[in-house]
Every structure is written in C-alpha cells, then in structure tokens.
C-alpha cells in the first residue's frame, strides 16, 4: 500500500496545511516549516496510523551532517556512508541529498514515504 496519502494527511493535519500543497518532492522543514515539536507529532502519528515503528533520527534524516563529518574523519566515501545509514533511500536520492545539503534541510515528503515502505515494524529502529 502506498503510504503517501496517509503521510500527506498527517502532515496537512499537524502543520495546518491544505493537502493539495503537499507533493512527494515538498521539503518538510525548508518549505512546510515543520519545527521540532511538529516532527515529534509527525513521528508519533506515522507510528500510530501506519502501524510502523519509528526512529525519529532516521525518519527525519536528523544525523546527516554528523554522519558526513564522521565519514570525512574516517576517510569513508560520503555516498557510501549515507547509503549505509539510510538503506531505504535509493542511491540517486542519496546523491541528491548530498548535492542539496548546502541549500538547507533536505528532508522531503518522499523520504518519509520511503521510510514507511522500507521499515516495517519488525525491522525499524535497528
């Protein structure tokens, strides 16, 4: 089942937005202006409504810069480091994230969708 409609509805409800404004490519923080308490609510709502276990750090790509700093320190390729941390994201998407990072928070709605599809309850949260 495609979780996008449910995620879209959760975002619209929590951020008080028209669902028509939300596409898979919409930036959750950069464009929709989600704040930390909104992310908390989005995580709990996804867990509740989609029946998945949620790890906020993974779901909201909170540690991207930490992972990249560590990779740089350890001489690990950035792309590989991110792919390893976020296996549910496709390689092209990870590359996009790397390219997009200087412009601000990279999290898009499709990343939430990918998480919901790639992390069923049994495996989520490592």
């Amino acid at each position: 089942m495609n979780p996008f409609p449910t995620i879209c509805s959760i975002l619209a409800e929590i951020l008080d937005l028209d669902p028509a404004e939300i596409t898979p490519e919409t930036y959750v923080i950069r464009t929709l202006k989600a704040e930390s308490i909104d992310l908390l609510e989005i995580g709990v709502a996804m867990q509740h409504r989609l029946g998945i276990a949620v790890d906020d750090d993974l779901l909201f790509l909170k540690n991207v810069r930490i992972i990249l700093n560590r990779a740089g320190r350890d001489n690990v390729d950035a792309l590989s480091a991110l792919k390893s941390e976020y296996p549910y994201l496709s390689e092209p998407r990870v590359q996009e994230i790397l390219d997009d990072l200087p412009a601000g928070p990279v999290l898009q709605v499709r990343d939430l969708v990918a998480y919901a599809q790639g992390f069923p309850a049994a495996t989520a949260g490592h």
């Binding site: 409800e13 929590i14 951020l15 008080d16 937005l17 308490i37 909104d38 908390l40 609510e41 995580g43 709990v44 709502a45 509740h48 409504r49």
Partner: protein, 388 residues
C-alpha cells in the same frame, strides 16, 4: 494605588453566543431571550453555544491549534480581534502584557496518537500560542480561579499598566464547558438548571423560582493602555478601568460563603474608587439558589441605589472562567448604545429592594461594577467607567 497611571480600554474582541460584531450582539440583546438549546449530551440541560465557530475564520495558519481546547481557541480568536479593534501594531505589542483567565481541559487524556498530549493539560498553552502569533513578550499571567478568572485577569492587567510594568496589555479569557464531560461535571455538582419547559427559560437570575444556570461558551479580550500611551497614538477610548479587587471566602469548595463577607469586601474595595453614582452593576447572577441569595444580600448592602442591576448570564449562559470578560464586553456595547437589556426570564424577583433590570435601562451609566464569584470562594470585581 496612589500616583498610579490611568488605564483605559482601547479595543475589545469577542466571540460569543450572540456574535462577534458589536451590532450583531446589540441586536441579539434586544430579543426577549438568548439563543439557548438543549444539550445533545444531556437534554435535561440548557446550553448557549457559539454557532459555527471555526478558529480559522479568525486567524491564519495555526498549527498549534491542535493543543488548544475550544475555550482556548475562542480566547485566541477574541485576542486577534481585540488587537485589530484597538489598532495595535508590532511596536506596541512587543513589550505588551498578557493576562488571561482560563479553565481546565476536562477532555484531556493520555494519548497514543499525539506526542505532546501533555500540552492539552496545560492552561498556559494558549498564552504561548497567542504570544507567538501576536508577538507579545511582556509581563504575563495565566489565571485559573474558576469563574472569577477572567475578571481577575483584567484586574491584574489593570494593575500592571497602572504601575508602569507595561504600557499596553491584553486581558480577558475564554472558556467552553459544553463537552459531555463538562456537562456531567456541572450536573453532578448540582448547579445546572433542569426541569424547564423551554431552554431559554432555564437560567433565571434573581427569580424566586430559579434553579441553576445554563452553560455558555465564548471568549473576550480587551486592549488596555495607559492613558498617555493611548492619547499619544490617537487611539479611540472605550472605557477606563479605575479599580480591581479580589478575595477568598476560605470556606466551601463550591458554594459561596452564606454571609458573603469576603465577596462583600471585594465589592467595597472596588467601590471605594468607582463610587456608586450612576452605577450599573453587572451581577454574577448565575441563577443558582445560593449564589443569587448571597449576591442579593451583598447588592442590598452595598449598591441598593444603583440605577440598574444587569445579569447577562440570563442571555448567554455561564461562561465559567470567561464569564467576567464576556459580560464586560456586553456591558461596554450596551453602554455605548445607552441601552441595557432586562434580565431575561425574571418574572418574580427574589427580593424587592434591588434595582434588578426588569425593563431595559435606557441610559448610559457613568460607572460599571463587574462582579464574579467562583468555585473555591474566589471573588473578583472590576470598576469601569465608560468613556465619554
């Protein structure tokens, strides 16, 4: 407060069962009764709801509205309207004070689908949301003294402006107790009118056959300023607040002290500055047997010569924490029109030595005394002079 600054009201915003615009409210007050209905939760009980309330009709995007009770949303809508009515901008609001009288959330519960359900329980959540939305960062207080709360909030705002803690302050409150939980709580406390033929005849303040109150809801917020500040910016002035008081019965947790000592003291302290000349009393007038009996005695002792005693709960129900601010909003509209409505449903007054309004008062009083006496023996009064 010797040497204190004069404090004026330069704007009001309200969302009430009778409307959100002055003309609508005044027009509704000309009808014989308020828009009471039987509660769906309990048809034995009368309620007076705000029809078709939608926070979004009053504010723009408000994602934190999810943490607000209906009463808090009504308060927020009223505040936004008050700021607009007073013509206050970011320069005035930045250091403004914020004083709100609010009630509990009787529907709050731990939830699996909401991370911060804790915020549902906290009455100051709306204070924070309002401060963010309006850019208010000054002195503040969120007051929870039951039915005295918003009157006390207005009093504290008055003191803050009078003593120079703030040049501008918003003050008022909001409440809604129409939920099944609230209806049940009030009914079990034995304070609601029941056994009526028609819901508009349920609440009959100061009538010999009164038997309790009807539940209302709404919000009302006022912009207070020191007179110099209001004049400097050319603000329109609606009224001046001249006195405020509060007291505690220290007796029953629900009913008033039968002797009304502390409540009477609060009234007297307000009257010291306000005086009794051309006075209209905005009585608490819940329509419960005990409140009106005790309040009637206080009125007879202190203000028998008033030009009128109004009881707005007969027209909008009891707004709990927001009753005082809502009744002041109605009174300022009536003062502006020199027309106060009769107490609805008052057929046989419980005593004959009081100037209870049985017919409309077609004069503009020089003084208004707002009385609010709440659960816990919480009493608060406010002395106001309509601006002329």
């Amino acid at each position: 407060m010797n040497g204190a600054r004069r404090v004026v009201i330069t704007g009001s915003g309200f969302v009430l069962p009778l409307g959100s615009a002055r003309e609508d409210v005044f027009s509704a007050l000309q009808r014989p009764h308020g828009p009471f209905l039987r509660s769906v939760a309990d048809p034995e009980v009368a309620i007076c709801p705000v029809p078709d309330f939608d926070l979004k009709a009053h504010v723009s995007r408000c994602k934190n509205g999810r943490y607000l009770t209906r009463g808090q949303q009504l308060c927020l809508a009223a505040a936004v309207r008050a700021v607009d009515d007073a013509g206050l901008g970011p320069d005035e609001l930045g250091q403004a004070g914020l004083f709100l009288g609010l009630g509990p959330n009787l529907q709050a519960r731990p939830r699996d689908d909401k991370a911060l359900w804790l915020l549902d329980y906290l009455p100051n959540t709306v204070t924070s949301v309002m401060a963010g939305m309006l850019g208010i960062h000054g002195e503040n207080l969120t007051i929870l003294t039951a039915c005295a709360a918003s009157t006390q909030a207005l009093g504290q705002a008055f003191r803050a402006v009078a003593t120079g803690l703030a040049d501008v302050a918003l003050a008022g409150g909001g409440d809604s107790r129409l939920s099944p939980e609230a209806v049940r709580a009030y009914k079990q406390a034995g304070v609601l009118a029941t056994g009526f033929d028609r819901p508009e005849l349920a609440c009959r303040p100061f009538d010999r056959d009164r038997c309790g109150f009807a539940i209302g809801e709404g919000g009302a917020v006022f912009a207070l300023e020191c007179l110099e500040h209001a004049r400097a910016r050319g603000a329109r002035i609606l009224a001046e607040i001249v006195s405020a008081s509060s007291s505690l019965d220290g007796g029953s947790l629900t009913g008033p002290d039968p002797a009304g000592h502390a409540a009477g003291t609060a009234v007297l302290r307000c009257l010291e500055t306000l005086g009794t000349e051309d006075l209209c009393v905005l009585a608490h007038g819940t329509g419960t047997v005990l409140n009106d009996s005790v309040e009637g005695e206080i009125l007879a002792r202190n203000t028998p010569q008033a030009m009128g005693i109004a009881a707005f709960k007969s027209r909008i129900g009891h707004l709990a924490a927001a009753c005082g601010c809502a009744e002041l909003a109605l009174a300022l509209i009536c003062a502006g029109k020199a027309h106060f409505p009769a107490i609805a449903g008052l057929e046989t007054p419980c005593r004959d030595d009081l100037p209870l309004l049985r017919e409309p008062l077609r004069r503009s009083p020089r003084a208004l005394l707002l009385q609010s006496f709440g659960f816990g023996g919480q009493n608060a009064c406010l002395g106001v002079r309509p601006w002329s």
